[in-house]
């Protein structure tokens, strides 16, 4: 099943049943369906920190990253969207 591409206006949040542990600034996540582990570091971890139990728009995540890093908006948007699509495919985030 292919999910529709995410847009900047999409509202995303952590999936309620996401199984993860934070260790030394790293995030280790378990996809409980496949029993596979994923490691998320650096900016990926920062994006995860910006997500919560209530939906936020992808645009607001991109805006905050643009304040923190010297990166052009198009690249940033594209990479954030691709990262969140990955998290969604592992059922770590949900789109509302």
């Amino acid at each position: 099943m292919t999910l529709p591409a995410l847009t900047l206006d999409a509202q995303v949040m952590r999936a309620g049943n996401a199984t993860f542990i934070e260790m030394g600034g790293e995030l280790i996540m378990l996809n409980v369906q496949t029993s596979k582990y994923y490691g998320i570091q650096a900016v990926g971890k920062e994006i995860w920190d910006m997500l919560g139990d209530t939906p936020v728009s992808i645009r607001s995540i991109v805006e905050r990253l643009l304040e923190l890093y010297e990166v052009d908006e198009a690249t940033c948007s594209q990479q954030v969207i691709s990262f969140l699509e990955n998290l969604r495919s592992q059922q770590f985030v949900q789109v509302s």
């Binding site: 542990i21 029993s35 596979k36 582990y37 490691g39």
Partner: protein, 294 residues
Amino acid sequence: MFYYTLYSLLIESTIALPELLAVGSDHKPASDVQVVLDRERQYTLPDEKTRSAYLLDIPTIGRYFISGGNSIIMQPEPDTSDKTNRVYLLGTAFAMLLYQRGLLPFHASSVETPHGAVLIAGQSGVGKSTTAAALQRLRGFRLIADDVSVAYAQDGYPYVVPAYPQVKLWDQSLNMLGMNTDRFERLTNSDDKFAVPLTHSFRDQPMQIAALYVILPMEISQIHLMQISYAEKVLLLQRQIYRGALMREISEDVLPFDLMTAFLKHVRIARIYRPLQGNSLDAMLELIEQSLIN
């Protein structure tokens, strides 16, 4: 009937298993595991490969049916010696049984140190048993398990359970440790690998795990210890699971989340690169002891 303890389980066996710790005949509570030898093939072993019932079929050696986490029926080939049969029983067959019981076997030897249990992991031939034997002989640390170390998590902490008081060593390792091969029995008739009993220096109680080192031989001149990220630790842990491919055949859920987090939180996990050539055993022991106190 023979009674033994192995991995903190009471084993009831129709054949003698001299490697294991025997339990006196005066107190025999209900056994946890039954081991049955069926040379006459009285049982028809079902060709099942599920988590609860698994037929382990090893060509030219024999068939082992492991079920319910409490039973192993062995049908060795006529040419398979008792010794060889026990190698497969106590290795792969028991690993599968433990897995059925929710315990996780790692391909590692382990010893008791003043800082907690230390697991020495790695592929066959990297020096797990030799390192464990050296820690026992040269530092006086008692053995907990050789080759297969079984772990579980309790209240968020990881523990290793004792196996049996024996290390399996190649003749070169025995020589390196100043031990004479004449004194020990060959593991199988074909190998230069010997069974070294360590009954006098064996810890028979579970112990909290302090460290796990994965040994990797490389084309380098000096041994060194490599710290790794947590993500790499998770990968490394998964790769040290004993017969991992076999386990994944029957279930995806091999490394449970609670055990994984217990390891990440409480265990030093690192790689030790050692030179392919030469004897780096002394350096290895120093490196491990240094790492434990840092």
